[in-house]
Symmetry: none
Subunit: 397 residues, 2 copies
């Protein structure tokens, strides 16, 4: 419905995603509650706040669905296969007809039985060397790309693009048996249209084996996937969106929904400079700050607190740009105490001259829980941003 | 599901809709926050409150869908075409087989090219005179009705009722080209069943033209519609509902869901007398107060505040009737600052001996945001009213 209501206008929306910012208390306080955040506090006083469920109450999201939801896409409807997410994570561009799959380097014994599914977790350096050795660039009419990931992980991309447009199909079985003591599975088509794809995969394994040696003398595949067909934010919301993020996977996610990817630095200072320089050119800015999430996954409460305080010092820079709508939220929570993504709702703050400010005085989990936006599904974040930017016509007369 | 649970009983529900009551702050306070409302405040203290989204977060509703939602009807499922709403707005009764369409008086040049889609916004008086001149009462077996609206607007109704029951169908193209510099479009059927309707429309235009003169020498049509097929509140909720409202469109909306329309006055005092006189005869009362919305659309903050204070003085009259359930809410917000309907959730108050009162001490946007009902979709307003009136059996054993 929203597609029929949206209008193009000059107002600007800035969505700042503090990756994994939410936490749970340690000694009575969460990371946000422990941090000194005078700028966020002031902003909270002038804003309306709430908490969001990325998927639904109790569900812990991966980064893919959590972001899709914030971008206004139903994460249940648009599911991103593992192969695609891994490809995005290593910075591979995927065409609509490409099939990507996650690979593991593994160890098999003389009888071809898998004895280590991760080849002793070889180093990332070793992984790169092996990928360099595996010069298999084409099988039949299908172009092949092999991209090393971390430790024993890599991504295999079968290109469905090019002069001949080979017809690839992701509906094939996995070769990774997911346990040791058995041989790898052959790749089998689940539908006849996928026969060719399965053949290519099996041929790849055959040709790769002579080029491999212990401990990484086998490859295992799981999660064959094509990129989901997602209508762009331009089409759906008449936005001219861009993304400022330092990590490949988020660049890939942003690209999936049609955002232009800006900047090449690695620090918040780099990112904010990119934002300032490009402020006139777009009307939707996805600004991603990653490091808090990594610190949460490390279980490093103190470092996460410090990073939040660092971010707080940048808040005036964002406000100086005078966005018509400024949203600050997380994609998911990453409590240091849990060392992982969690299901806890994300604190959410919306600042605009069209809000009714609530009584919230800090940007913390507990404060936002009683905020004026209440608890809502993150899928409504984008409609709320569009509304406060006066980019939506009314529904019905 | 609710239809299977509902039971007929003698308890009485009074739904007071303060049209467009919600606002956004001007100098730190909304209209409700600025008004002195001792009676509403006392009521809020004894009630449970919350805020409602008429459609979904961020969506600004027209009056039609906003009211349907409050009456317990999914406004996405039951969409009311523009022609029907316009007809309701000028007080025309529509039968199930009638087709209504919005008309504009327009100006065309000697070559038949539209040069002004609104005929210079002729006066409402002039409009009435033209409609009087256009004595086209029947074409073939279809009875025709022409009802003047404001300025250049009118409503054309093709009657599908009567002895012969002509088969009319709204699936035809619009004649309004929606821009100048081109001739009006012919009305074309989009499905074969609509061939007759398209012919009647084209014949109407042909016959009208010789009766028209500059500047209003053409008619343009858009928004052909039949009334939606809506099961009545009697059928769905076993209610005996009535409506007390002073504006045609709201009478029409109420009639669409089966309400009996009461009263003929124009002031709140007239309305409340109608309510008092008819209190014994019904079990669901839709009581509509319109003027606050108009003042919001005018951008008249002070007058909207004063009108809210006036309404407040009537609150004891409502309470004296001792309704089993009293709800006070808006259909949508109309902030004076925005001079238009908005997406902001509506403050909602439910008073009944079966509520759990919350900590709310005033009937304002900010207070209701933290009310015990939380933020909810307005479609749940009716089930909540039925429940607190003990009109719902339990679901399952």
């Amino acid at each position: 419905m929203i597609e029929e209501l949206v209008i193009k206008s000059g107002t600007k929306i800035l969505l700042i995603v503090l990756d994994g910012v939410g936490g749970v208390p340690v000694n009575g306080k969460t990371e946000l509650e422990s941090a000194r955040t005078p700028n966020l506090d002031n902003l909270a006083k002038e804003s309306i706040t709430g908490v969001t469920d990325p998927i639904s109450p109790g569900i812990t999201p991966g980064s893919g669905p959590a972001h899709l939801s914030l971008f206004g896409y139903d994460p249940i409807k648009y599911q991103i296969g593992r192969g695609v997410l891994e490809a995005l994570g290593v910075g591979v561009d995927l065409g609509a007809n490409d099939v990507a799959v996650r690979g593991n380097f593994a160890t098999v014994d003389d009888n071809g039985i898998v004895i280590d599914r991760r080849a002793g977790r070889i180093s990332t350096e070793e992984n790169k060397k092996i990928c360099n050795k595996l010069q298999i660039r084409q099988i039949e009419d299908v172009k092949i790309e092999l991209v090393p990931g971390k430790e024993h992980r890599f991504v295999l991309v079968l290109r469905g693009e090019g002069g001949v447009q080979p017809q690839l199909d992701e509906r094939v079985t996995e070769t990774d048996p997911q346990r040791t003591g058995v041989p790898p599975n052959r790749c089998e088509p689940l539908v006849t249209e996928a026969t060719k794809t399965a053949n290519i995969v099996n041929l790849f394994v055959e040709r790769a084996q002579p080029l491999l040696s212990l401990p990484a003398n086998m490859v295992l595949f799981r999660g064959f996937a094509k990129p989901p067909k997602i209508p762009s934010m331009q089409e759906r919301f008449k936005l001219t969106p861009c993304a400022i993020t330092t990590y490949p996977m988020y660049k890939g996610l942003a690209k999936l929904v049609g955002m232009e990817i800006l900047g090449s630095g690695s620090t918040i200072e780099d990112e904010i400079k990119t934002l300032e320089v490009n402020w006139q050119k777009y009307d939707f800015f996805y600004f991603h700050i990653k490091r808090i999430d990594s610190l949460g996954e490390d279980g490093n409460f103190e470092a996460k607190v410090n990073e939040i305080e660092t971010i707080d010092r940048y808040i005036p820079r964002f406000i100086r740009l005078n966005p018509d709508v400024l949203v600050i939220t997380g994609d998911h929570s990453t409590p240091s105490k849990l060392r992982a993504h969690s299901w806890h709702p994300n604190p959410f703050l919306l600042y605009s001259k069209w809000t009714i400010p609530d009584k919230t005085i800090r940007f913390t989990e507990q404060e936002c829980m009683t905020g004026g936006l209440g608890r809502f599904n993150a899928i409504y974040a984008l409609p709320l941003m569009l509304a406060h930017a006066l980019k939506l016509n009314k529904f019905g007369a």
